[in-house]
């Protein structure tokens, strides 16, 4: 991997004049450079940023901290007042400010225009138009003027164009929350693939998405760099800063402790991405059903998954769950020839497209291998207790394998078809919360004086007040 920076900003800043009185504006016109009647306001000041090829850098900060201004300067829609920025390669940007679409033109016209601006030739646009339309999936609205689009359709089209122009650098500004569940999964699949080779700058208030997607994070505060470094570390410091703002007594606020991962000072640094494979987290035995749902070969056919639905314990279809209930996931398949030793698997993905949990019929071989006659409908049933997931839509993906001489061969895969909706009743926003058997909060009657060496050992077990139920 080349360590040459793809995006390099040095001392980047953007200043706007602020006129305290309207007449100052006129005076300024008259006096020109001789006198100054305005104050300068720096929306962004002195930002150094160096992004290596293949790196994903997140930008966090509160509203008005300069995130959008910085992105606009990087993608060239705003001219910096100080410093310079150099970008090597084609930049595709999904910005909330000025998506580049003309509201009076139709989607089709805007696609052609947008792609041309990004440097595609007429032939290239012709050959890719269908792919863009398929990705956007907005049907007949393609021929309606953009001003008639809902915000979701607008985002779909913008993403579809950006995803099909062979961008070297992708700039994404808080756009992941638009579109329906299937579209989000599609976007996340694209972004995860893009991250393998491309460079990405990413702005979001969703710290879950930031830590998941970004190698490094730049934290902007009042237009200046408050820190850059490890995503987790920066999000932690940002959270602490928000906590400080939420309290009414800032003077009492303290921060301390030593962190394992060092937080680098605000200096340009070209980190080299170090991203371990996330899909397979364990080296499997030779006999195991071992597959990487993120990188699957084409399906072979010869067997077909017809559905993959959740059912409640009473046998009724479960479409909305609260979390924690007993469920059965039933994957129904049909054999198109005699199948020898099949295995079925499923994965459940969250809004970011990451796998939360998964299971298959082969692991541990509780049940003997099954041979399936031609034309036979068969199903795998997974019974378990659903974790307490955060509210939202979850994608259910299922896989059908047959065991061959060299291990398992994928016959069919079903994705973007089934979703489980969670209307959470759980208090935490964890990815997969567990149910508590008991939660208690008690005052300990008489603990010895302050400064006891190891207080916990002197505590009698608390009276079992099971307040949770």
């Amino acid at each position: 991997m080349s360590s040459e920076p793809v995006v390099e900003a040095r001392g980047l800043g953007k200043a706007y004049p602020i006129y305290r009185r309207p007449e100052d504006r006129l005076k300024q016109l008259v006096w020109g450079r001789w006198r100054r009647f305005y104050q300068e306001f720096w929306a962004v000041r002195g930002v150094n940023l160096c992004v290596a090829r293949g790196e994903t850098v997140g930008i966090i900060g509160r509203n008005g901290s300069g995130k959008s201004t910085l992105l606009q300067m990087i993608c060239g829609t705003l001219r910096p007042s100080a410093g310079d920025v150099r970008v090597g390669g084609r930049v595709a940007a999904m910005l909330e400010l000025g998506s580049g679409f003309n509201p009076e033109f139709t989607g089709r016209e805007n696609v052609r225009m947008g792609a041309a601006v990004l440097g595609l030739t007429r032939d290239e646009i012709d050959s890719r138009f269908d792919a863009i339309a398929a990705f956007a999936d907005i049907g007949a609205f393609m021929d309606q003027p953009i001003k008639r689009y809902s915000s979701g359709m607008h985002a779909r089209l913008a993403f579809a164009v950006c995803a099909n122009v062979d961008a070297d650098v992708l700039i994404v500004d808080e756009i992941l929350s638009v579109g329906d569940a299937a579209f989000q999964q599609k976007c996340m699949r694209y972004l995860n693939r893009f991250r393998m080779h491309g460079t990405m700058l990413f702005v979001s208030h969703d710290s879950g998405a930031i830590v998941k997607l970004c190698d490094r994070v730049l934290w902007l505060d009042d237009g200046e760099t408050r820190g850059t470094g490890d995503a987790k570390e920066m999000c932690r410091l940002y959270l602490a800063a928000q906590a400080e703002e939420a309290g009414d007594d800032a003077a009492r606020f303290r921060i301390g402790g030593r962190s394992g991962s060092a937080c680098r000072a605000a200096a340009p640094a070209c980190g080299s991405p170090d991203r371990p494979s996330e899909e397979i987290t364990r080296v499997a035995d030779a006999d195991e059903l071992n597959f990487d749902p993120g990188d699957m070969p084409d399906v072979k056919g010869e067997g077909e998954i017809e559905s993959g639905n959740f059912y409640a314990r009473d046998g009724s279809r479960l479409r909305v769950a609260g979390g924690g209930e007993a469920v059965e996931l039933r994957v129904v398949c049909r054999a198109k020839r005699f199948l020898r030793h099949v295995a079925l698997a499923f994965v459940v993905r969250d809004r970011l497209g990451q796998i939360l949990f998964s299971d298959d019929t082969h692991s541990g071989s509780l049940h003997p291998p099954t041979d399936i006659p031609d034309g036979q409908v068969f199903s795998a049933k997974f019974r378990f207790f659903l974790p307490h997931l955060a509210s939202g839509a979850y994608a259910v993906e299922s896989f059908l394998f047959e065991r061959g001489l060299k291990g398992f061969v994928l016959l069919d895969r079903r994705q973007d078809r089934e979703f489980l909706f969670i209307q959470s009743t759980h208090i935490s926003n964890g990815l997969a919360n567990v149910a508590m058997r008991a939660v208690t909060l008690d005052v300990i009657p008489d603990l010895p004086h302050r400064g006891a060496a190891n207080p916990i050992e002197k505590i009698a077990p608390p009276a079992a007040v099971e307040a949770a139920e």
Partner: protein, 444 residues
């Protein structure tokens, strides 16, 4: 209730547009003399009847393009109805789509003056309140820059700040909280909760959980027509079910505060998956009070530990073990509503699972006096974790779930390391009660 109390009403309200034709179609129609008005009529909103009483909060839910924004614009008068009428009594502050109501060329300051004047405030009132508005918005120097330079978050901040300071009788809020950062969302929330006590609120959101929490009644729009109007909790539940039933649904966003139906589901029975022969060994470090922490002070976390049934501290946990997590604190001042909680985070910093004492104590808040030591105990079956390092964040906060201050918050108070794991894919392992492969009928 008498009619006099109704502050906002609509009857048979509707809005129709003509669909655009492609240029060639338009030409052929023009040439053939079929009229210049273009394509077919499209009703963005049709036949809405609505009556809102003083002090009521109505939520409007529906998918993208269901007509929510159209309804609000008709009620505000920024759009002329094609059918029916809308009547509004009182001063109405509306936060419609971003940027509406602002002149992008004017500065934030000028727009505040303009908007407040339009809403009927006198010059003296505006200058008196300007400071409060600017403080609520919290956009600093941007106040003197043209609004066209604002990000959507800043526009939302300014819009909300003006609406919150014009003594509105009716407030219309359209999806605005979604674009702000967490701190601002909390501030808006606090304001809306207070506003509800006296004013009339019309709240539009995709987040049906939020609607159920904030509103008394909800209106569900579907393709421009009223699908349901009734108690918020019921309508929202139906709405979510309906979305799910159609499979490929539109826009359910992750909702972090589902609101109205706090309950702890029945904890599942202990499940041990016999296939997980490889044990899930998880090493647990001793409590590290010197890990990164922050907070406003007022209490100290003294000890955090996992223990088994017998109360002894565990240095190692096995996935699916029944464990107790104990967090011991000492109060340095009187605490009214302390909440103790934890979060297990993975290597990247994502929240895997967590909980807190808010629910357990909500109905009987436990006040703690200065100098007292108190302990929170969480008993649960430890899940299977994928291999890797995890940090256990523990915290004591004060307030409520939505609005609280951090008293003492320790990141990575304990470090857990899953050494061996049966989890192949994903974040956690779900112990299965049963897995089987079955034939369905005979081959066709």
């Amino acid at each position: 209730m008498s009619d006099a109390e109704i502050v906002l009403s609509a009857s048979g309200l509707g809005k129709a547009y003509r669909l655009h034709l492609r240029a060639d179609e338009r030409l052929s129609k023009y040439v053939s003399g079929a009229g210049r008005r273009g394509g077919e009529e499209f009703w963005a909103l049709k036949n809405v009847d609505l009556a809102l009483r003083r002090g009521e909060a109505l939520g409007v839910i529906g998918e993208n393009g269901a007509g929510k924004s159209t309804l609000l614009r008709l009620l505000c008068g920024t759009l002329r109805p094609s059918a029916g009428t809308a009547v509004v009594k009182g001063r109405m502050a509306a936060l419609l789509e971003l940027g509406s109501g602002f002149n992008p060329r004017f500065t934030g300051r000028e727009n505040v003056w303009l908007n407040a004047a339009v809403l009927g405030l006198s010059k003296a009132q505006i200058s008196e309140r300007f400071g409060a508005i600017a403080e609520f918005a919290g956009i600093g120097e941007f106040m003197d820059l043209p609004v066209k330079l604002y990000s959507s978050g800043m526009q939302a901040r300014l819009g909300f700040a003006v609406s919150a300071h014009v003594d509105a009788d009716i407030m219309i809020v359209d999806e605005i909280l979604a674009v702000g950062d967490a701190a601002f969302a909390q501030k808006c929330h606090r304001y809306l909760e207070r506003f509800r006590a006296k004013g009339t609120l019309l709240f539009v959101s995709h987040n049906s959980g939020l609607v159920a929490k904030l509103c008394d009644r909800a209106l569900w729009l579907d393709h421009g027509e009223v699908r349901a109007l009734g108690p918020a909790a019921e309508v929202c539940a139906d709405y979510v079910t309906n979305i799910a039933e159609r499979g490929a649904a539109q826009e359910i966003r992750a909702q972090e505060s589902p609101g109205h139906r706090w309950r702890i589901a029945e904890p599942p029975p202990l499940v041990r998956d016999s296939r997980h022969r490889a044990p899930n060994r998880i090493a647990v470090s001793p409590f590290n009070p010197d890990a990164p922490w922050h907070g406003h002070g007022g209490a100290d976390i003294l000890e955090v530990s996992f223990s088994g049934g017998g109360g002894q501290r565990l240095g190692e946990i096995t996935g699916a073990d029944e464990v107790e997590l104990r967090i011991v604190c000492r109060a340095e001042r009187d605490l009214v509503r302390p909440i103790l909680g934890f979060l297990l985070r993975d290597r990247l910093g994502q929240n895997v699972f967590g909980d807190n004492t808010y629910l357990a104590c909500r109905d009987a808040p436990r006040a703690v006096r200065v100098g007292e030591t108190f302990v929170a105990v969480f008993r649960f079956q430890f899940p299977f974790l994928a291999p890797g390092d995890y940090g256990l964040t523990v915290a004591i906060t004060e307030g409520s779930q939505e609005d609280h201050i951090h008293i003492h918050w320790i990141e990575e108070a304990l470090v857990l390391n899953a050494l061996e794991s049966p989890v192949r894919r994903g974040i956690v392992g779900i112990p299965a009660t049963d897995v089987c492969l079955e034939m369905e009928g005979t081959p066709s």
